[in-house]
Amino acid sequence: MGEMRNLGEDLARIKSAKVIKSFCYTCPWQCPTEVFVRDGQVVYHKGNPESPNNIGSRCAKGMASWWLTRDPDRLKFPMRRTNPKGEPGKFERISWDQAFTYIAEKLQAIAEKWGPEAVAYTCHHDPNTVFFRHLLGDLYGTPNNYTHTSGCEQDRRAACLTLFGHPFPMHDFANSRYVILWGMNMLGANQGLWESRALLEAKKKGCKLVVVDPNFTETAQKADEWIPIQPGTDGAMALAMCRVIIDDSLYDREFVEKYCDGFSGFRDHLREKDYTPEWAAPICGVSATTIARLAREFAKTKPAMSAIFKGSGYYTNGADAGRACYILDAITGQVDKPGNLHLKDWAPLAAPVNIPEEAKRRPQKPPLHVAMGYPLAPDLPNARLPDAVIHGKPYPVKALFVQSTNPVMSDPNTDLMKEMFRHLELGVAIELFMSETAIECDIVLPETSFYEHAEIRQGLWLGAEVVLCQPAIPPLGEAKPLYDIVQGIAGKMGWGQHFPYKKWEDWGELVMKDIPMSVEELKKKGFWANAIRYNRVPEGLATPSGKVQIHSQAYADAGFCPYPIYTERSVIPDAEYPLQLTHSKISMHCNVLTQNNPLLMEICGENWAEINSSDASKYGIVDDAYIIVESPKDKIRIKAKVVEGLVPGCISVRHGHGFGHWAMGSVAKGKGAHSNNLMDNFTNPITGANCYNECKVRIRMA
């Protein structure tokens, strides 16, 4: 039907609008889009049909994101706190010039008194943070430029870096014939839309999908087998499966000999530890027969994939659980071939500015994660940041920049996070809304939304890819793009010459210099994608041995076992608090950013706690009623949903840290319950990840 026509252009004509190619930054998967603009307003938008990321489609969160362009609760001008810290911030409007001056003076004073290492920067995953990295990292000289991974897939990232030397592999579901997902709700999170579609299409062609998860998620719903495992025990089951595959000689002998480092040691390790299906069965609540059968099926069916994302990492034993799940791929030779975990190429994006070597200042202290004792952490162990800010350990942190991230809301132990902000000499929030973190800061700067600024970044698809977001409409109020904010602060610090761009295309040309596409072409097309490439393992991986690192010397050097081991998680329910608190996501919301959107809130206006019907009877819980969930630390009031699809002995709070906003905006405020203060700030000892599920609770009717 109408294959010669351009649907975007035809639809835009109906809306009397102009089409601008861009991308959506509601979540970090950045689907390329076509934004329809009329009279300076976004009147519709759709997926870019040429892009392999989303093939013209969108998710609900992205589709509803146009609301950002007219949300009356957006920040419109820079503000400075007028009341003392320790109470919710009151703010006065200031000019950008005043804001830049204030920040620059504070930064200079902190550098003189404490050293530049006392400044830390955390963000979501905005590529424009690269500008801040050049300002604070290269010129100012702090090594502490971080993102948000410890609240996300920190354990996965650590496992992938350790084993494959790759921070963020993709999933080539389209060619898979057997997929095991551990605590990964691919279809519920629905972020990489091409991955969701490929998984379902593979299923139609006969791929078997096994979902190992305490929760009957949207992904488990589509699975051939749902394995309702006990929470925090994925590592035990994966290690037992490795043992079966090795004992039955079902591993890929050639692959492990040629391309893996430490296979024989791992085999001996499994035997010494006596990791067997019989050992794992009572731990995992999965029969030994099932564990052995799944191991054999997995090893015999190729191409196959065993993958994790966040779920297995929400416990203090999550790092090794992640490694074990990926070693299943390694010993069966299922790495980076069609249908496997895919060690994608990155596009050769260059720096947007040229900072001369002589202008750079070398940090005098190691980065915080190393100084904190987490050398293997791929990102800042966020839950340990209060130690540095409040107690000066391992060294003092006096200034914190939070950009498009909301640690008071998203990190465990809300009280402690709030307390941390009160000890800062300078807290700067760069945000769209007066977030729960912004309200604890000294300076709040309004950033433009992705409809109002430019970004050029890596695309999250199988091939090397560049995606572009470009300004479709003018900034709301006085909001500024990050690159202009950095330019303003740099100017006040005497480094203006290093950020010489007059318009975004100036730095865009520099970023794109090694990509075979001009900025002008990129603006017309919206993305650049290279062909998919497979089989990088024989070329050598970015690991110490160049092979898949089953044995990790880095782990041994840091005082951990070089092979994955199984340890029990830290918090186990008891008579007083008999239920394990777990968390899962909701497809209509992304992190802490989407709850002020009335379109999404109409569909899902509050979060809830799921509880198995047997536990509901035990504790007198009625479906759809409000209950009190109480941990040793705090309690919340939340709606209960009595379900069958959850392991008894658990409760599952869906989107626990995204709801219950107390600052963000008029739509979000007070809706649902915020679960993060139920838990203490447990940190994965290896990766520094937040451990959201290390919490025991009791429940009763409200």
Binding site: M1, L11, K46, S57, A60, M63, A64, S587, S613, G645
Partner: protein, 187 residues
Amino acid sequence: MQHGFYFDHNVCVKCHACEIACKTWNEVEVGPRWREVVKIETGTFPNVRAMNVSMACMHCGDAPCQKACPVTAISKRAEDGIVLVDQNKCIGCGFCTWACPFNAPQLSATAGKMEKCNFCQSPGKERPLDMPRACEEVCPTGAIKSGPMSLLATLGRSNSATRLAGRGAEGLPGLMLDAHERFGPGE
């Protein structure tokens, strides 16, 4: 030629993008939901199953809403069978909302009039019928298709594409539900 929707629950992941796209294209206010996705869960732990269904007005052959309307505000377009409501005639009595078995007609709290899926035929925003509807265009997994019913019947496993809620051959709703393949984990 009767037009309608085809829906494949096997690939619907209940992401609700169809609802938001519908609302955005047709500029529907918060309140009325022209399209709605629901999950139906069955079984007992650990043998649980679930099915997602995205539903809008099915533009029925013998539209009960049309019959129930006391002021003939609801009509069925001759050329494509699309059921439309004339907002100028509608008195907001709500009879249609009682007559429809699928809860398709929705009363707007602000206008006090009935509204529902009009197959993307909102005045000034009409999508020609050879284009995808907004819900269809946005769907990440291709679960929704629109078109003439004769064409939709050939999609998926055509021999097993069953029509939802049979109400006599003449009055069948315009929805093809591919319900052949079993869904979710087996028993």
